[in-house]
Structure formats: structure tokens, C-alpha cells
């Protein structure tokens, strides 16, 4: 009886450990997005496969009919994503000088030379989710730049003014 109970608890433990292992594994796999450089350098290998890719939306969210073009920068390079038009509604910021774009997670089919889009390298998104919304980046004035700029402009005006004065005197003589 005791032996049976021991075996039962051992089995439960094993199932629990296995379940936790599989669950963690799923999480890890989901978080393991492929890098843009890996995709571009090994485009033939990944051609036609489902890939997970993540990156910051940069530039413009370009609507084309019922779809949008998203250009995602993962910090190494930029890969274009062709997604459903509804995706654009969730995107608040596209990265630029004064904006950090939304960070998106994309799962989709990778194309080395997409037949639908003139041979462009792209991902046709199946799912797109916003991992983190971007924000406006207020420009912090650089006091050193300001001082140097104003000083150099002042020196320029003084030198130019003095030289005009000398030229006038020379002409007068």
C-alpha cells in the first residue's frame, strides 16, 4: 500500500516536472526570435518557413489596401513585414529622431524573394502583437553644444565686423 502511494506520488511529481519543463520550454521558444542578420545571411535556409521576429517599427506604417507594410528594426538590420491592415490600429509610435517606435513580435512566413512583392525579402505576418509601446523622446538640449555654437557664431561676427572696419579704413586712406 505504502509502496503504491510512493509510486503514485513519484508519477505525479514526474508529470508536474514534465509539465513545468514543457511550459517553460514553450515560453523560451516563443521568446527566441530570430535575428535579422541571421535571416538575411541565411535567407535560402529560412525561405518559406514560419519564423518569429521582433523589432521596433521604424519610419512609416504604410497602408496598402487591406494590408500594411511595417519595417522592423531589431538593432542589427531592418526586415519588412506584410501584415493585415487592422494591425496598424494597435501601433502608436513608429521610430524616428524624436520617437521610439513600438516593439512588435511577429510570427509569419519568411520569403527570400517574395513572388507577390517583386522579389523583396519579407515576412508575411500570421500574428502580430505589440510587446511594448514606444514613446516620444523629448530632445534634451546639449549645453556644451549650445555654448560652443553661440561662442563660435559670436567670434565669427566679431572677426567679420573687425575686418570690415579695417577694410573701410584702408579704403578711406
Amino acid at each position: 500500500m505504502r509502496k503504491n502511494a510512493y509510486n503514485f506520488s513519484k508519477t505525479i511529481c514526474f508529470i508536474l516536472i514534465a509539465a513545468v519543463y514543457i511550459f517553460l520550454g514553450e515560453i523560451c521558444c516563443a521568446a527566441q526570435s530570430i535575428l535579422s542578420t541571421e535571416l538575411i545571411d541565411n535567407a535560402k535556409k529560412y525561405d518559406g518557413q514560419v519564423v518569429d521576429f521582433e523589432g521596433e517599427v521604424i519610419g512609416d506604417v504604410m497602408s496598402r489596401g487591406g494590408h500594411v507594410w511595417l519595417n522592423l528594426n531589431d538593432g542589427r538590420n531592418v526586415v519588412s513585414v506584410w501584415a493585415e491592415g487592422e494591425t496598424a490600429r494597435d501601433i502608436q509610435f513608429a521610430g524616428s529622431y524624436k520617437r521610439r517606435g513600438d516593439w512588435l513580435l511577429v510570427r509569419g512566413i519568411f520569403h527570400r524573394a517574395c513572388e507577390e512583392h517583386g522579389g523583396d525579402l519579407d515576412i508575411h505576418a500570421q500574428t502580430v502583437s505589440v510587446h511594448e509601446h514606444g514613446k516620444s523622446i523629448p530632445e534634451i538640449p546639449d549645453p556644451v553644444k549650445q555654448r560652443t555654437g553661440i561662442m563660435s557664431a559670436l567670434i565669427l561676427f566679431v572677426v567679420w565686423g573687425l575686418s570690415r572696419l579695417v577694410d573701410k579704413k584702408r579704403k578711406h586712406r
Binding site: 538575411i40 506604417v61 496598402r64 528594426n73 521610430g95 517583386g118 522579389g119 525579402l121 563660435s152
Partner: protein, 500 residues
Amino acid sequence: MLIKPTVGDIKNIGFYLGKIIVGLGFIMFLPMLFAVMVQEWNPAFDFLIGGSVTLLIGFFLTKLCETTRDLNWMQGMVMVSLAWLAAMFFGAIPLYLSGHWNSFLDASFESMSGFATTGLTLVQDLDHLSYTHNLWRHLIMFVGGQGIVIVALSFFVKGLAGAFKMYVGEARDERILPNVIHTSRFIWMVSIVYLVLGTLALGIVGISSGMDPFRAFFHGACVFMAAFDTGGFTPQTQNILYYHSLSFEIITIIIMILGSLNFKLHYYIWMGKRREIFRNIETRTLFFTILATLFITLIGLNQLHTYPQTMVLFRKGFYQLISGHTGTGFQTIYANQFVDEWPHLALVGIISAMALGGAVCSTTGAIKMLRIGIIFQALKQDLKIIMLPERSVVMQKFHHIKDVFLEDKQVRSALLITLSYLILYCAGSVMGMLYGYPFLESLFESTSAAANVGLSCGITNTAMPNVLKVTYIIEMWAGRLEFMSVFTLIGFLFAALRGK
């Protein structure tokens, strides 16, 4: 016997160099005004610093070397080659201050690449670069494409007899109008009219492609400047691939071809003499070399079935080829795809196209169509001499604006410049191979730099050795000026050291 340059020589060079630097300083205030308009304050100060320092140094130089003497040939040539180095240095100041370039050398590389209308880039995180700095990157292409000296001749020089020497020193040996200053102003007028039309066309396509109006027209203006001046910079990392638009590609192809035509031909088209397009040796040669190199490229791409459909293969192959042949450097593929996916034969087609270039007195670099045409005519003449009876007199004629009889001095000059370019392409590739890059990739990147193209197969990046960066800077500089003024500068420095 080598004659040591006199103080008078140095003063003359310094005075006109100072004038060019002052001109460049004034141009830097344009992006500053733009920065104020779009409320980018730190970039505004970058240009205030850059502009003030440039004006101060230019001003000091003109005062220090003040003279009323005109330039002679040697002084004009030396001045022009120094002016381009000065432009690289001063143009790099606001770029470096932005923090998007890892070192001043990288910023200088970008600046020379811009002025020489090459398009190779070392910028970091381009997608977050300010509008102002992006405008500057493209504006220097517009200025460099017409010619830094042309700017000075158009706006800052009045009735200078030595103007022609500076004009020639900048690799423009054809006068469109009898007066070289009027010629410079005509070049600017053509460029500005096309700028307005091109920006409108690209802006409208941008809006219809889903961009917001301000960004669409900003991108339109930048891409126009890079396309017409056969430069190759774009405001985004992905280059032309960013837009995913066939219309955008077609318009840029038209602009690139317009940029690769002789300004003299533009003048004739503007005057309604459109037949000149079909008769001119340059346009005919351009047509045949495009066909030949396109054939090689497409055969190569077809060999490995790089693209799944014929139309896709043609679209990718044709765009990269026109971009290379006109010396622009726009790409609709990633740099690494050239090496990873394109077969060697296709790369040879692109390298050949890059090495040939566009028309003389245009904004392109490389050997150029007139020289290729002349060499071909000389070959034809020699064949006729061999095949016809010994007593027959063979005169070879070609049409370039007017009918011209082929002379030995034209052939000699064409062959000398062609040889110089070939040596430069090879020297750069040897340098690349010394650093461990494979032959074809080294040749590709070196040809791209020396021919002022800007297509890259991935060698050009911030991690490449500094010596290679300097090598490419020299190639871009010498290639843009077509050697003579660079050779004169070397001779001048040698005479200063060893002359009596």
C-alpha cells in the same frame, strides 16, 4: 628640373580655396534654418558650430592669402583637389557632432562619399537620425554632384578668368555656354527644375504608398537629390527597398538615367533638339553597354534561379544594373544578398556596369561613355586601316553635339583616363584582399568606391579596417576628380619638397 612653388603660388591657391570654404560655410546654414523649422534644436547647434568654424577658417584663409592675381593651370588644379579634401573635412563636422558616426574618420568617409556622390555609408542607426542631418547627407550629394567649384562659380565668383581652370579641375571639360560662369548657372537651373519636378513625383507616389505628406515630400526631395546626382544615400537603412513600390522604382530609374546624361545634352533637349539623343555617341554607347551588361547579369541570375519568376528576375536585375551603371548605388536588395545569393557572373555584369559609368559633364563617375565610344571608334578605324587597300585614307567620324573627326590626342586622352581608372579599381581590390576579403567582393567594393557608385556587397561597415576606409576615401576623391587635379597636387607637393 623641378621648380619649387613660390609664396605667390601658395597665396593664390589659399585665397581661392578660402573662397570655396566660405561658400561651403554658407551652405551649412541651410540645414540650420531647416532645423529651426522642424524644431530640431541639437542638430541646429551642430550646424551653427560647423558653419561658423567653416566660415571662420575660410575667412582667415582669404584674408591671409589676399591677392588680385588670377589662377594659372597648376594653381587651379591644386586648389580644386584641396577644395574637395577641405569639403570632406568641414562637411564631416556636423555629422560627427550628431553622435551617429563612431569616429571623425567615419564621418569624413560619409562626407566624402556624399560630396563625391558615391553613396557608401558608415552611419549608425540611420532610422533615428534627425531630418536635419539627413537633409545634409543628401544636400552634399546635390552640391558635390554639380561640383563644389560650380557652386562657387555660380554664386560667389564674378568674372574670374581663372574660372575655367577650376571648372576643368573638377572633371568638367565641356562648356555648355560660351561663358563658364553662365554654364555653371545653367547646370544649376537644370538641376533645380528637375528637383522640383522629381520631388513632386516622388512625394505623390510616397503619399499614395501610405506615407504621411511631410515625410513623403521630405523623402522625395532627398531621394531625388541622391538619384539625379547619382549619389545613392537614402533616408532609411533599407535604401529603396523601404518603399516597396514599383512606381517609386520606375521614377528613380528615370531620374538616375537623367542624371547620367551630359548637361550639354540636357541643354539641347531643352532647346528642342531632341534628335541629338539618338545621334550622340554617348547615349548610343550607353544604350549598348546597358544592353550588354544587363544580358550578362540576367544570364547569371538565371543560372542559379536566384529569383522565382522572370519578371521578378528582370525587376531586381535591371534595377541594380541601372543603379550601378549610372553610378547611383540605390539597392532593392540587401548588401549581403549580392554575395550570398547572386552568382559570380551576375556580379561581373554589375561590376562592369559600375566601371563604365555615364556621360561626361554629368553627375556620374567612372570611365564614362564618351571615352568608351572614342576607344571603340579608334578600334574601328584601325580595323579599317588593316582591311582596306594601303593607299586609302581612313577618317573616322563620330557625333557628339556636332560631327567630330577622330584624332590621336582624343584617343590618347581617353585611354590614359581609362587606364588610370582600371589601375585604381585594381589597387583598391588588392588592398581589400590584403585584409582578407575575397577577390570578387574586394573588386566589387573597390570599383563601387572609385567609380562613385555606392553599391555595396557588405565590406563597407564601421568594423572594416581604418586603412581600408582611407583607401576608399582616396578612391572616391581621385575617381570623382578624374585624376588630373590629384596628380597635379601630388606633383605640387613633390616639387615643394624636392624642387629648387
